[in-house]
Subunit: 297 residues, 2 copies
């Protein structure tokens, strides 16, 4: 990554758009990050999207140097291909990327689950360098209009190299993560997926069930009284449905396991309340309070 | 409420402290609210707390004119007594307030559940004017240090008059709510408790179970990856435990009902995911997204 490179970002929604903006505006502090910034500032960025208005907006914002709706053309001359589409779209696009990407290119994705994507990456031609990626950040609003350069700042950026991935390719992915202000963390796909299910996919499912439970009662009064507590606990339910479907369906086993663990905790709380067992209830509430109060975000 | 009055606030934590500060700093826009402001600005406010440091802090801040740790002495000359202690403390304090409050005084509480408190208020001496109250606002931080004058601004302030309550007393409570910037809403206690269980107590229970489920796995990696989604969904778990115990135990039936409704929604989501039933899953996620996106806070 010492010479100027060409980066192709496929998908210019919240994640892809933010990555392009961040690469343009990267401001960094460490020596490693400075090296990344210098190189990446000299880079050419191509944006790929199916939607003409997204391409126009990305070009107008200066986030990308060139745009195309043709995946094959976009990836053809790229040193780095970043797949920033939803999880199952990435799975569909990988074979085409494999046919058209140039030998030696780093193939990085930003999908929210890693096991299925990394397994599919194993089928890429031997000359390509695949690394699964997942920046641990997001918003419940989707699309390029929601993109912002600061999205990755100080957030973990998980990287999952394959057994075949060259060290230099992983290093290139690490520099890219640093360049956008994130903290790269190398994990194996299964470990990532289990942790992401706990702290991201389970909260989403819980938030959906909460909204649907209150909605089922169809009580306008309850909605009118909702305050910051309901607002925050239910925020994730507003997330993009197709993206979340991809996440849940490509991380099904881990999500099911965490749903069961959660249901067990909720049943324990219900049992203590139902039995008027104040000590058991206090012990559960106190444990949660101590853990949550100790968390830093 | 046309002449200057004396208000005694019992409990100077987040709610009581904020009420005192708000009464001091009330800025209002409607004619009704102006009338309330003029009267209440001329009021004398007495603060009651068991803790000397809380009394000193409240006095130093200018939120109250006088302080005492003696409930009987504090309420003796008050035209309005506001009980801003946790729910079960209110239940314990009501008989003593009944013995010492002066005839004609408005007895208003700020407890988060209303059925048990309003039932206990029915036992107050006939000369007193009880109104159950619940400002729908809060923070997960407790204590006078967390108090702020703007806490009630534009928030619903539920008022539950008893059958015996004089119209003038309810009007006085309504003016007080307006004076601190809140929107008074008159409800019967059971209706309030059921709605509050849905939009406040259920989200708290869900948040506790979420934190305890992830904590049970004892995985430092998961915690280190937690981002804004987990932060918001779990925020309520940091709430004051004794306050929340009082709320859950004094609103037990309604909370249990909502826990069951929630568990039903979660089981439906789990079943769709387990069966790989994409259409059913999409329909649940879409319903929640539409509802949540339409909410205004």
């Amino acid at each position: 990554m010492t010479a100027p490179i060409t980066i192709c970002i496929v998908g210019l929604g919240l994640m892809g758009g933010s990555l392009a903006l961040a690469l343009r505006q990267a401001s960094v502090t460490t020596a490693q990050q400075d090296a990344a910034r210098i190189t990446l500032h000299a880079s050419r960025i191509t944006g790929v999207s199916r939607r003409a208005e997204t391409l126009a907006a990305a070009l107008a914002s200066g986030a990308v140097d060139a745009v195309t709706s043709d995946l094959a053309a976009g990836v053809a001359d790229a040193d780095v291909v970043v797949l920033a589409t939803p999880g199952r779209t990435i799975l569909r696009q990988l074979p085409q990327v494999g046919r058209h990407a140039k030998t030696g290119a780093l193939i990085l994705d930003l999908g929210s689950t890693k096991a299925e994507i990394c397994a599919a990456m194993a089928d890429l031609p031997a000359g390509l360098q695949p690394v699964g990626g997942h920046p641990m950040c997001g918003k419940e609003i989707a699309g390029f209009a929601a993109a912002e350069a600061g999205l990755f700042r100080d957030r973990p950026f998980v990287l999952c190299p394959l057994p075949r991935t060259a060290a230099a390719a992983l290093e290139q992915a690490r520099l890219l993560a640093c360049a956008v202000g994130a903290r790269p963390i190398v994990l194996d796909p299964a470990t990532h997926d289990r942790a992401a299910a706990a702290i991201s996919h389970l909260p989403y499912a819980v938030s959906v069930a909460l909204v649907n439970a209150v909605a089922a009662a169809d009580d306008p009064l309850a909605w009118s009284l909702a305050a910051s507590g309901f607002r925050d606990t239910s925020r994730l339910a507003a997330s993009d449905v197709e993206m979340m479907l991809d996440i849940l369906l490509t991380n099904r086993e881990a999500v099911l396991d965490w749903l069961d663990a959660f249901a067990g905790q909720l049943a324990a709380l219900r049992a203590a309340l139902s039995a008027h067992d104040e000590d058991a209830l206090r012990s559960q509430l106190t444990a949660a309070q101590a853990r949550r109060t100790g968390m830093k975000f």
